[in-house]
């Protein structure tokens, strides 16, 4: 489905990605993790064709993304941008309808089919009641969900999410990822960059860790979501415990020595993941 080879990419001559080789099969749900500045956003922007690679290629179903027509690419890949820019005076409905732009003919307007797809997407994300509101009146979390609805309305094979859940409360996060998991089960390939590593461990079957523009670890969640890997990549002590009900791995950061508010002298248990100070 997606194949990156020797991918280098960045902004105005400042390279960020330093040679990425990545292959994602159709129907996968991949979490892109890594510390700040690791290149997660750059990777997603390059996959969605916004940034052209400095060298290397991105292929979608065998076709070079750089050689695809803009609308054709947008029919295959939809993206929820991080900190997406807004326009106060547009309505939520108009914004979600824009997801249908790649399907318009040169002179055609949005038709009943497009309206229906937009309405279904808003319904799925739970923003249908926001439809007549202006974007300037939305909260950060509401706007993020509206952007997600627009990406769903694009009805693409691949969905890229860049911190799409960053401004959401815990219930909305779970709701959003359950929705994404359902889409994934229906065949959509999903790549999600996120800082919430536990959310990634709950919903993504494969994790790719970036650091310094390179892939540091890549594999099934159970294989890479481990104490040594996490502690090494984030350069802090992290212990991994199984989730009490699902058994999936979950990470807990361990505060270093110092005046941290703790539960008191009774708790001294440091996990075996405490490998470096």
């Amino acid at each position: 489905m997606i194949r990156c080879q020797g991918l280098r990419s960045g902004y105005h001559g400042r390279p960020v990605l330093q040679g990425i080789d990545l292959e994602v099969a159709a129907g996968e749900m991949v979490g892109i993790l890594g510390p700040n500045g690791a290149g997660k956003t750059t990777l997603l922007l390059t996959l969605s064709g916004v940034l052209s690679p400095g060298s290397g290629t991105v292929r979608l179903d065998g076709t070079d993304v750089a050689a695809m027509a803009d609308r054709e690419r947008a029919r295959k890949v939809a993206a929820v941008p991080q900190r997406g820019e807004s326009a106060r005076e547009l309505t939520v409905r108009s914004l979600v309808l824009m997801g249908r732009y790649p399907y318009l003919s040169f002179l055609g307007g949005y038709g009943p089919g497009d309206e229906a797809a937009a309405a279904a997407a808003m319904e799925a994300v739970g923003v249908a009641d926001l439809a007549p509101r202006r974007l300037g009146e939305l909260s950060g979390g509401e706007f993020q969900r509206v952007l997600t609805a627009r990406a769903l309305a694009q009805e693409s094979d691949v969905l890229l999410l860049d911190e799409a859940s960053a401004s959401l409360d815990v219930a909305r996060k779970i709701e959003l990822y359950q929705l994404l998991a359902a889409r994934n089960a229906a065949g959509t390939t999903i790549l999600a960059a996120l800082h919430d590593i536990n959310l990634a461990a709950l919903f993504c079957r494969r994790l790719v860790f970036l650091k310094g523009g390179r892939i540091e670890a890549d594999g099934p969640t159970a294989a890479v979501f481990t104490q040594p890997t996490l502690s090494r990549i984030y350069e802090t002590d992290i212990i991994v415990i199984p989730h009490p009900t699902t058994g999936l791995p979950q990470a807990l950061a361990v505060p270093g020595p110092g005046p941290a508010p703790g539960p008191g002298p009774g708790c001294t248990g440091h996990g075996p993941g405490r490998s470096r100070q």
């Binding site: 922007l45 969605s48 064709g49 916004v50 803009d70 609308r71 054709e72 690419r73 947008a74 029919r75 890949v77 939809a78 993206a79 941008p81 997406g84 820019e85 807004s86 326009a87 106060r88 005076e89 547009l90 309505t91 108009s94 914004l95 824009m98 997801g99 732009y101 790649p102 318009l104 040169f106 002179l107 307007g109 949005y110 009943p112 309206e115 229906a116 202006r134 694009q154």
Partner: protein
């Protein structure tokens, strides 16, 4: 889908007052003036011009005054107002800058320089047509646009910062050139200043013939890219992720809006404020979707400029005229302030 059609009907109903205001302004333009003409006679003249079978007024001069002087002038003012308002809305949208107006790219400076050259070299006499000056203004505006676009492309693509900066460079350079022309040719200074100040005095059929094709061409090109215009509001990243060829869309929109501006300046000088106030007022009252915003801005700009022109030519006693730009600013400013204040109190519909 029903809701979509419903909202379209509602948008049309809310736009109707703008259309009626424009028609009222046009009617006032036909009625007002120093030559006495009864309302029934004016109605008969306009009705006959529209092909109705009505008796001609007893005074034949009424027909000439109403049709050739007042109506054509008012129609030109309506078209110029609509063009400036649409150009303003497009510039504000593409450059994502609420302070952008039709003159941001320096097109008006180029047009003014072209007109000044024509006036100081007496090209109208040389070519034997009064259209020499508007034609030079149009050429000057077009050349400026080409220079600004080329400059901003060289400086890093058609990004809004580079386009605005290139426009400022062009405007500054052209204003210096204009001063140079004035300094070298002192007897034409009054003519140049009067021309730039703008207005519709003595304008009519010839100017309309020059202006209309540009208006139609510019509006058609903008209409082709109206959906892209909405998406461009969200910036380059989202535009590209939605499949918009952002560079081409911006190029077409900026060129078309500049054509409207150059044509408006060529036939009526530099009339400020319409391109700023009409789109902003409509955006606050009706919302920012360009499919409706451009239409509403055009209707509002047309009505505003015709009404301002009627005031400009009737408010002073003895047949003297005010520059219409003075009237648009004097009337528009307070209205705009009121709109800003009501918006701040959350009284937006």
């Amino acid at each position: 889908m029903l809701r979509a059609r419903h909202s379209r009907v509602r948008a049309a109903a809310r736009t109707l007052p703008l259309l009626l205001a424009g028609l009222a302004a046009l009617a006032a333009a036909c009625l007002a003036g120093s030559y006495p003409a009864a309302a029934t006679d004016v109605a008969a003249v306009v009705g006959r011009a529209l092909g109705l079978d009505l008796p001609a007024p007893a005074d034949a001069a009424v027909t000439a005054v109403v049709l050739d002087l007042r109506l054509l002038r008012a129609l030109l003012a309506y078209g110029v107002g609509a063009a400036l308002a649409v150009a303003g809305a497009v510039f504000q949208g593409v450059l994502r800058n609420p302070l952008a107006d039709p003159f941001t790219l320096g097109v008006s400076g180029g047009a003014a320089f072209g007109a000044a050259l024509s006036l100081s070299l007496s090209l109208a006499v040389f070519f034997g047509t009064a259209l020499a000056t508007p034609a030079c203004a149009l050429l000057g505006g077009g050349a400026t646009l080409a220079a600004v676009l080329a400059l901003s492309r060289l400086a890093g693509g058609l990004r809004r910062e580079t386009v605005v900066l290139a426009g400022i460079v062009a405007a500054t350079f052209l204003s210096a050139l204009l001063s140079l022309v004035k300094a070298l040719n002192e007897e034409s200074v009054a003519g140049i200043v009067f021309w730039i100040m703008g207005g519709f005095q003595g304008r009519g059929r010839a100017e309309l013939a020059l202006f209309l094709p540009c208006l139609v061409l510019g509006l058609a090109a903008i209409w082709l890219y109206v959906r892209e215009l909405d998406i461009l509001l969200l910036g380059e990243t989202q535009a590209r992720q939605l499949g918009v060829a952002a560079g081409r869309a911006r190029l077409v929109l900026l060129t078309a809006a500049s054509l409207l501006t150059a044509a408006a300046v060529a036939v009526s000088g530099v009339i400020g404020f319409v391109g700023l106030i009409a789109p902003h007022a409509c955006r606050r009252l009706y919302g920012g979707e360009h499919g409706t915003l451009l239409l509403q801005s055009a209707l509002a700009g047309g009505a505003l400029l015709v009404a301002s022109d009627v005031l400009a030519r009737t408010i002073l006693p003895g047949g003297a005229e005010l520059p219409v730009g003075v009237v648009t600013a004097l009337c528009g400013g307070p209205f705009f302030c009121a709109l800003l204040l009501t918006g701040r109190n959350g009284a937006r519909p």
